[in-house]
Amino acid sequence: MAAALFLLAWSGIYNVAASTGHWAVVDWFLAFGMRNSVDLRANAITAPVLDRPDLIRLGAAHFHGGCAFCHGAPGVPVSPIARQMLPSPPHLATSMRTWTDEELFWIVQHGIKYTGMPGWVALERADEIWAVVAFLKRLPVMDANSYRELALGRVEPASQSGEALATVDSNPQDASACARCHGAADSGPASALVPILHGQPEPFLIAALEEYAQGSRRSGIMQPLAADLGAHDLQRLAAYYAKLSPRRSDNSAHSSTNERGRRLATEGDPVNGIPACEPCHGRSGLARYPRLAGQNAAYMEAQLGLWAAGHHTSTAGGAIMGPIAQRLSEADIKAVSAYFAAQAPEQVGAKP
């Protein structure tokens, strides 16, 4: 049997062309195997609450940039190039198989062998993968307009001149890639899970983009985008956001000037080894540190949660925050995030 298989491969008789497709029986066999494999492996996963607008928006914005090329979207066809893959990727808005939330999570996280479906860039970022799953659950009931609103947010890509279209080697949708999630001059982030970059110190923004580009800061959403930027683009982008006037989180439901949060931020909790946040993240901290006043509470909670779970510690900043976040309780994380979200942000200088 093994010798026969070897001879088959050695002889070159077997045709590996994607253009010819599979025999129907092979097609059925592969799909049957995939279905059972995903089903088995998804057993150990439990979905969190997915019906959250912030999660769905974040997933939609990533889907638009990362998945729609192969899988299409309402109003967006599958690229003719992607359609020639074997198997041809399904247009998910119209013909997605019925998967459970957990099965979708497993597929997005690990990808599928012998298809073009890649695994998630940062396997440990379950928070990001769930955002994509939350969006996928909504996809079948979405029309082109509601998809556009969700994935592009309030950003309207400027229509380029004929000359620019003809001569500039970039897709107009890429130009708005940052703003789709993070907002721009006149708008804040599309989702409370996305950080407000407006008015953050420039050295901090540069360092964060460099860490994403090198992969030392892990994110399936940010790593591919940052890796595409040249060193010069990265600095111009950082300078752009650093100069915008600071914004305050508009998600007031999660912000409050609670006492526990105030104490942690300004005095820390020395008995439990927790230093105060303000010496680094307040107005007089290094420009290498982010400012937290007015930041989205949900974003801060998620980041602190990642550090507390032991992720995210391979960057210079993460190495400092990791041990500190691990000393915070879940209630501490909520309290201090809510406190900072309620503070009025200040403009900081571009350089220390």
Binding site: A276, P279, G285, L286
Partner: protein
Amino acid sequence: MIARWLCLLLPVSTSLIGGCGDHQSVLNPAGPEALQLTQLTWLLFGFGTVVLATVVLTVIGAVRGPQPVRTMLASTRMVVSAGIFFPALTLTGLLGYGIWLTRANFANPGEAGILRVVVTGEQWWWRVDYPQGGNGAFATANEIRLPVGRPILFELRSADVIHSFWVPNLAGKVDMIPGRITYARLHADRTGIFRGQCAEFCGGPHALMALEVIVMTQSDFDAWLQNQSRPAIDPQSTSAREGKALFLAAGCGACHAVRGTPASGTIGPDLTHLASRRSVGLDTATMSQASIARFISDGQHVKPGNRMPPFRIFAPDDLSAVAIYLAGLK
């Protein structure tokens, strides 16, 4: 053949390890309280040797001895007198003697001229507070300075788990128990540097949780006390001034205090007079600008498991500036 000779060396080398130099040794007391303990140790050792020899002879007598000796050893009277009364009487006597001998160690905070020093065991360093400093209270770390001849009252606390305070040349072990205060009272009757160690396993870098007691003449001690209770000196050079600004902006003050600056953290050691100490994180590196820089950026390799995160955010020049500033805090 060589192996046999090496075996002969074994007892010699073991006895050398037991000596371990004279700055951390119970056999080389540097104060009356330690001397009493040493005397008690030798007494117990001598007495124990006599008892052991007697037991060995008795066993030989019981197995190999003539019939009358074996009969005598097997009698009820022998078992009751040598097996119950003898240990009860001698152990009670020794306990009483030990308590009487070390009676001066029981703390009396009201004792005239006594110097109070608060030592707190923390994972994994020693916080040392002098509540009655030259011009007010101050704190230092991993290093205790004492005047020769004066009675000292150590107030021992723990910030987290059980530690044990032990400076063999000066006194016996005293446990430091969370939520309680224990005391050790002692004198040092000669100047010198004596090493102490945490004597209760307290987690990861327990073995690196050491301290030094430096016994000085009264006048040297007074000068030291005066200097320690002053706020930190202001940096003079440009790089040291830059280092100070970076130290504050990098958030070091959230954990460390430098009196006279906004840095007032209490989580880590007080750094007001860092450079007056003999080492950086005792047992890890001698005091130098390079040691300070290494501890800041790579402290987890210097003292693995310590509670300070590594600060790799500094550019090389900035890191040297911070180290220059701290190395100037005499």
